[in-house]
């Protein structure tokens, strides 16, 4: 093939591919113009049909017509998308061939060039460059000045309070009663966790009762106050529990504290409102629990597990005790994931003793001065992330949720000697949630959630009083109670508001679901914190979504309520503080200065937060 032939072929290839590129470009342009003009997803025809449907809501033919038309415009949309995508690939292919053809054409036609054919006059070039640099520089300056004079600072014209962003609440459907929830200070629901709304005509709690209920059709909801639970002589009292913070998520494990004057501003890094901070030598994701002036925590690694007691006023370590010499304790620690660890369960205390459990099944009890009372091993929990269910205590009993891959059970141990008082087998799979105490129909119940059941057990006998199958997956969030209901949730399952008296689901939702953080219910509001960073508030009675706040950073620690405020710390250690109300009112976003995974604890005028490196105590200075 001669060089002339090669040049001719290159020329032809370039020509054909060039024409091809221009054709495809024009088609793409036409497609774009047509698409931009018609906006298939905003079809006027559908709008007209939908308008018609409002006046003829029962017209099934019209509904079918809308569906068909909707399908048609969607098909048109995706067809157009496909055309653009395919066109783009064809254009790219054409452009590559065109570029190669032209390169080949020019290189074949290239002749040896004359060295420095027309050398640029450098001096003249420099003079011209100076001129043009000054012109360009001046032009940039002039343009910037024009832009500055042409732009108006509208912020200056803002006089303040002209408009307040409001939660869009006007979407309440007709017929749904909007309950006006007063401030926490206006009623005593925060002070008294036993204020429940119950169905007086209902008997607790099995399917027979439910059937009977359905037959009578009684749905009367009256607000009554449950009698306060009475414990045995010498045992912990309800008043003591309410005035302390003795378990994971506070009194009754319900996430609501009665303490006041909690700060809304601090900074762990700069020391703002930091009363004290202490380093904790061993890692642990458990949250602090408080009794009087004593704060309790645990930590552990493969070599050693310890329980710590600190003075709440100074942060001084009062005592620390190793968890050792437990009869039956396995020689090796179980394999656990880094985000669970060996000391995930929080401690609990009844004011006389403090109880702790670890990932190897060791459970131990010390008195308030650090003297060991008893210790035993419950068997190695078969748990692929690590046991994380916290303990809770009532009436001289310590309750252990022991749901593992090998089956589930709940135990009540004698607080004085650790012996099993009762043990109830549970028909469920593994769970990482913690027990919660609540009174329904005058009976103190320990309420547990796992895959697939949410169930309540009599704290005195261990009898399963009710259960509802509504959970699935790996259940991490614990339940919360309020408004006469038990609220259980888990990601990929649902958020269910359960009436424990009828063992029925009153309402449910599956849009915002927590993965780790437990929901909290107070003042008629249900707060849910998701692992993808959204804090949501529902009307606890109706399930209506009241507000949602997207913070971008997920929540592993549970949101808690104190001093009429919601405290939710995200994994970056930013505490999102909002007013406990039906509208999202942000009160502050103080920073811990490090990551935050543990749920905070409260005392009068103080908030205690465990970070990765240590325990922080903040209070208004």
């Amino acid at each position: 093939m001669s060089i002339t032939d090669k040049i001719q072929i290159s020329k032809n290839i370039s020509l054909v591919s060039g024409i091809f590129c221009i054709t495809v470009s024009l088609l793409l342009l036409l497609n774009y113009l047509q698409f931009a003009k018609s906006e298939p997803l905003e079809s006027k025809t559908i709008e007209v049909l939908v308008e018609r449907l409002k006046s003829e809501p029962n017209n099934d033919e019209l509904k079918e017509e809308i569906r068909n038309f909707d399908l048609l415009v969607r098909k048109a949309y995706f067809n157009s998308r496909w055309q653009v995508k395919t066109g783009a690939f064809l254009l790219l292919f054409g452009a590559v061939v065109f570029a190669l053809g032209l390169r080949s054409y020019y290189s074949l036609k290239a002749k040896i060039e004359q060295p420095v054919p027309e050398s640029e006059n450098e001096i003249f070039g420099r003079i011209l460059a100076q001129k043009w640099i000054i012109i360009t520089g001046s032009t940039v300056i002039v343009l910037a000045l024009i832009a500055s004079f042409a732009s108006v600072d509208h912020l200056d014209s803002y006089k303040g309070n002209e408009m307040v962003a409001e939660q869009v609440t006007n979407d309440t459907d007709e017929g749904i009663e909007v309950v006006d929830v007063g401030k926490a200070s206006d009623n005593n629901s925060l002070e008294n966790p036993f204020t429940e709304e119950t169905s007086e005509t209902h008997e607790p709690v099995n399917s027979e009762v439910e059937a009977q209920q359905e037959s009578t059709g009684s749905e009367t909801n009256n607000s009554v106050t449950e009698p306060k639970p009475v414990s045995s002589a010498g045992a912990i009292t309800a008043e003591q529990i309410n005035s302390n913070y003795n378990s994971f998520r506070g009194p009754w494990g319900n996430g609501v504290s009665t303490h006041k004057n909690i700060p809304v501003n601090w900074n762990g890094a700069s020391g703002t409102n930091l009363l004290w901070k202490i380093e904790i030598s061993l890692p642990g994701y458990n949250s602090p629990v408080i009794w009087g002036n004593k704060v309790f925590l645990s930590g552990g690694n493969k070599e050693v597990r310890e329980i710590y007691c600190f003075d709440i006023n100074s942060g001084n370590l009062l005592w620390s005790k190793k968890v050792e010499n437990i009869p039956g304790s396995p020689a090796e620690m179980p394999k656990v994931s880094d985000d669970t660890g060996l000391a995930a369960p929080s401690l609990t205390t009844d004011g006389k003793r403090v109880f702790g459990i670890f990932a190897n099944g060791d459970i131990i009890c010390f008195d308030m001065n650090g003297n060991r009372v008893w210790g035993r091993n419950l068997g190695m929990p078969n748990n692929h992330y690590g046991h994380s269910s916290s303990l809770i205590t009532w009436n001289n009993k310590v309750f252990v949720q022991f749901d593992t891959n090998s089956g589930g059970k709940v135990l009540a141990l004698n607080a004085e000697n650790g012996e099993t008082v009762w043990e109830t087998k549970r028909d469920c799979g593994i769970s990482w949630a913690s027990p919660v105490l609540a009174v329904f129909k005058g009976k103190m119940q320990v309420i547990l959630t796992a895959d697939p059941i949410v169930a309540g057990y009599d704290t005195e006998t261990g009898e399963e009083l009710w259960k509802v199958e509504c959970m699935m997956g790996e259940v991490g969030p614990s339940v919360t109670t309020g408004e006469g209901m038990v609220f259980a949730a888990n990601e990929y399952a649902r958020l269910a508001a359960i009436d424990p008296l009828t063992a029925t689901i009153k309402w449910e939702d599956d849009y915002y679901l927590p993965e780790v953080a437990s929901p909290v219910c107070a003042d008629g509001l249900l707060i849910v914190a998701t692992s993808y960073g959204i804090l949501v508030c529902y009307d606890a009675k109706t399930g209506d979504l009241l507000w949602e706040e997207d913070y971008g950073t997920g929540f592993y620690a549970s949101p808690v309520v104190a001093d009429n405020k919601i405290y939710a710390i995200d994994t970056d250690g930013v505490m999102h503080i909002l007013e406990l109300s039906r509208e999202a009112k942000v009160l502050g976003s103080p920073k811990l200065g490090e990551e935050g995974f543990a749920t905070p604890a409260f005392a009068e005028g103080k908030i205690l937060i465990r970070g990765v490196s240590g325990l922080y105590c903040f209070g208004n200075k």
Partner: protein, 420 residues
């Protein structure tokens, strides 16, 4: 294969396999009978840690190979194929992200936003080309940059640009760099990424105007070689600075220049410095006065630039989302009732008050005041120094690549008849 390579490969495989469980979801995505596949929500998909380090390793290897091919091997063919590989890997396969050019913004944001921490891989992508430029010249531009590669491949008949035009247009990369840093520092936007003209081609998906911009750059690039690299690339500014001090830089001739002038038309980027002519040497004496004047007015350029910059802070800050939203709501409060305005509806749903939004916007505008002052001063300094540079004469005896402007593509090496 040597035992050491076996060990290396074993470790690599082990490291990769360790990452796999972390990538598994607890619950699989739902499958549809219709065959519908859920699209990935992010483009490009997030990489596992190991794969991000793999990208860094590829960059390191490409930079090392490019430097070797330019400095030791002197192979234009090698550089060409290496740039094709980089375009395919970093461009089409990695969708143009992670990118050293965009890394400027990540680094800036790290300094100004305490809550933002740059990843090690992004930092390495930003630093490695600069370090290599300090030792070997702009070998990143020659063989590793996908944006450079795609422009390099479409050079058909490059036209030589006159000095005045090159020097004048050469101011714009500084302006772009300054704006990119300002917008990144204030958390406004990553404009280098948003207005990357070639990202739409690499991803085969972009807004229409960006596709058009990319095509325009490529069409322009057929006759004006690498227009983006020469007259816009903000990273090129930093590489230019580094390369000026490079320890080993590509040379046109492997030995002594015989002044044959064959290389003079070889560079499509006009990056070859010619030997200083006698008349130019003489002229330099007359420009001494100009040098003093230009040097003296540099502070004036900086002050004027700073002043004008600070005056434009209101205009520049309008790009920030908070400022934009606050001004929009102040000007058009009726838009509060527009359900189709996503920005406003999102704000309303946030529960944030208008007072707080305006306060945030004012604070942001204050940041812009300081930032715009610095930006204006910087641009003034650049104009002053560029002007000064026009009256600075450096005596040269041979045909040499300009250390700052040369992309080390190696075209000129093929023109040199001198053997080693």
């Amino acid at each position: 294969m040597k035992p050491k390579i076996y060990i290396l490969l074993t470790f690599l495989l082990l490291f990769l396999s360790l990452q796999l469980p972390a990538q598994q979801q607890r619950f699989p995505k739902p499958e549809f009978d219709s065959g519908y596949e859920q699209p990935d929500p992010v483009t490009p998909e997030p990489r596992s840690g190991a794969m991000e380090y793999f990208d860094v390793a590829v960059l390191l290897a490409v930079l090392s190979l490019a430097s070797y091919l330019v400095i030791r091997k002197r192979s234009r063919q090698g550089i060409l194929w290496l740039s094709v590989f980089s375009m395919i890997y970093f461009g089409f396969y990695r969708n143009g992200c992670i990118c050293s050019i965009g890394g400027i913004q990540n680094v800036t944001l790290t300094f100004f936003d305490a809550t933002y921490a740059i990843s090690v891989t992004a930092l390495l992508f930003f630093l490695l080309p600069l370090v290599y430029a300090l030792f070997f010249g702009r070998t990143f531009c020659a063989g590793a940059c996908p944006l450079g590669a795609i422009q390099d491949l479409v050079i058909i008949k490059p036209l030589s640009m006159p000095r005045w035009l090159r020097k004048t247009l050469g101011i714009f990369p500084y302006l772009y760099l300054g704006l990119a840093v300002l917008y990144a520092a204030t958390g406004t936007d990553f404009i280098i990424c948003r207005y990357d003209p070639f990202i739409g081609i690499f991803r085969m998906d972009a807004p229409f105007h960006m596709i058009v911009l990319g095509i325009v750059f490529l069409l322009m690039g057929m006759f004006i070689a690498r227009p983006y690299c020469r007259f816009l690339c903000p990273y090129g500014v930093l590489l230019n600075w580094m390369s000026k001090f490079s320890k080993w830089h590509m040379s046109i001739t492997p030995s002594k220049c015989i002044q044959c002038k064959l290389c003079t038309t070889s560079c499509p980027f006009d990056a070859i410095d010619f030997p200083t002519e006698e008349k130019v040497t003489k002229s330099s004496r007359y420009d001494a006065k100009k040098f003093i004047i230009y040097a003296a007015v540099i502070p004036l350029w900086v002050l004027i630039g700073g002043f004008v910059g600070s005056k434009s802070h209101t205009y520049l800050s309008k790009a920030h989302p908070d400022v934009y939203l606050a001004e929009l709501l102040i000007q058009h409060p009726e838009l509060k009732d527009d359900p189709d305005n996503i920005d406003i509806q999102t704000f309303l749903a946030s529960g944030k008050t208008m007072d707080i939004l305006v306060e945030d916007a004012r604070l942001k505008r204050k940041e812009f005041y300081t930032g715009s002052w610095i930006l204006g001063g910087f641009i003034g300094l650049v104009i002053g120094l560029t002007l000064l540079n026009q009256v600075v004469y450096r005596r040269k005896q041979d045909y040499t690549p300009n250390r700052g402007d040369c992309y080390s593509c190696g075209r000129c090496m093929d023109y040199c008849p001198v053997d080693r």
